[in-house]
Amino acid sequence: MHWSLIIYCGVITYLTRFSMIFLLKKDIFNNKTKKILSYVPAAIFPAIIFPPIFLDNSGSLDLENNPKIIAAIFAIIVGYLSKNVIATIFAGLTSYWFLIFVV
């Protein structure tokens, strides 16, 4: 990792925040565009979540006896019921540790 890459990433991050505040006088996005932009987290985060869970170190699909899948399902259930961010992470991590260290 180079410092220059971190600086470029900092610049692009800043520009996504600054550009609209700087350019717009009024909110110009119509409801359709806003609705689509509101899907951005749902469209991007699973791409980060799925591969480390379903793929093993060599990059092939690992569906049998995979503790990460079970732990993730448990986390989803806790998240759905509690709507609590910390409870979700905690449930996933402790069930994962239970599966790899105890079972």
Binding site: L24, A43, I100
Partner: protein
């Protein structure tokens, strides 16, 4: 207490409850940064320069997978594209401010600060110092993010790798989506993104799987939005 300070403190107290999940997120980021060998200065440096948790972790994950600089840079841009929405929504309230204010407030426009200050702006249109609310909320996030990064850096040198802390990346992002679990359309969008990424991880060149799956899922989101509008 004058109105400016009062508004500033309102921003601090409004955003504080949202800092509870940010804290472990920052610690996880710091620990992983150290485990990947970025070193303390670079791990903390990224938190100060970028100040964007989700994209900092994406950057680390792509780095550990051996992605090219261009892919890391564009993935960070994609993850942060949601800020365009925040800026557009807030521009209505901030357009009369001096440029210096816009420059400062843009640096601290993170998810949590946007959430609380946008609500405050809507309810307090007539407060001429309402931008102090975003200043207070934003810098509270900033301080918490830097402190938790530093704690993570310290812990990173002692936490053993066997604990599988890299799994917490998946878990933290999963936790950020809990509000989407109840919406059917969001579940479809999430599944498209996740499945395309899992299949594409090995097939799509240059580790561009995050961008490709995000664009596929956003296309589906657009189609869903358009059919919804037609029905009305």
């Amino acid at each position: 207490m004058n109105n400016k300070l009062k508004t500033l403190f309102k921003g601090v107290t409004d955003v504080s409850p949202l800092m509870i999940p940010v804290f472990p997120f920052g610690i996880i980021y710091g620990v992983i940064g150290m485990e990947l060998g970025l070193g303390a200065y670079m791990t903390l440096g990224a938190s100060i320069i970028m100040f964007a948790g989700a994209s900092q972790i994406v950057l680390l994950q792509l780095f550990s997978g051996g992605a090219s600089s261009l892919v890391m840079f564009s993935s960070v841009g994609a993850v942060n594209s949601r800020h365009l929405l925040y800026g557009a929504v807030l521009s209505e309230h901030l357009s009369t401010l001096r440029l210096t204010w816009k420059i400062i407030l843009s640096y601290v426009l993170v998810d949590q600060a946007f959430a609380v200050s946008n609500t405050y702006f809507k309810n307090n249109e007539n407060n001429e110092n309402k931008h102090y609310h975003l200043l207070g909320a934003g810098f509270t996030c900033w301080v918490i993010w830097q402190i938790s990064t530093i704690i993570g850096i310290v812990l990173g040198s002692v936490v053993p790798e066997e604990l599988g802390l890299s799994f917490t990346i998946s878990l933290t992002f999963l936790a950020l989506l809990i509000n989407d679990f109840r919406k059917f359309k969001n579940i479809i969008v999430m599944l498209v993104s996740g499945i395309v990424a899992t299949i594409g991880y090995n097939i799509i060149p240059f580790k561009a799987y995050i961008i490709v799956s995000a664009l596929s899922a956003l296309t589906v989101a657009t189609l869903l939005t358009l059919t919804e509008i037609k029905k009305k």
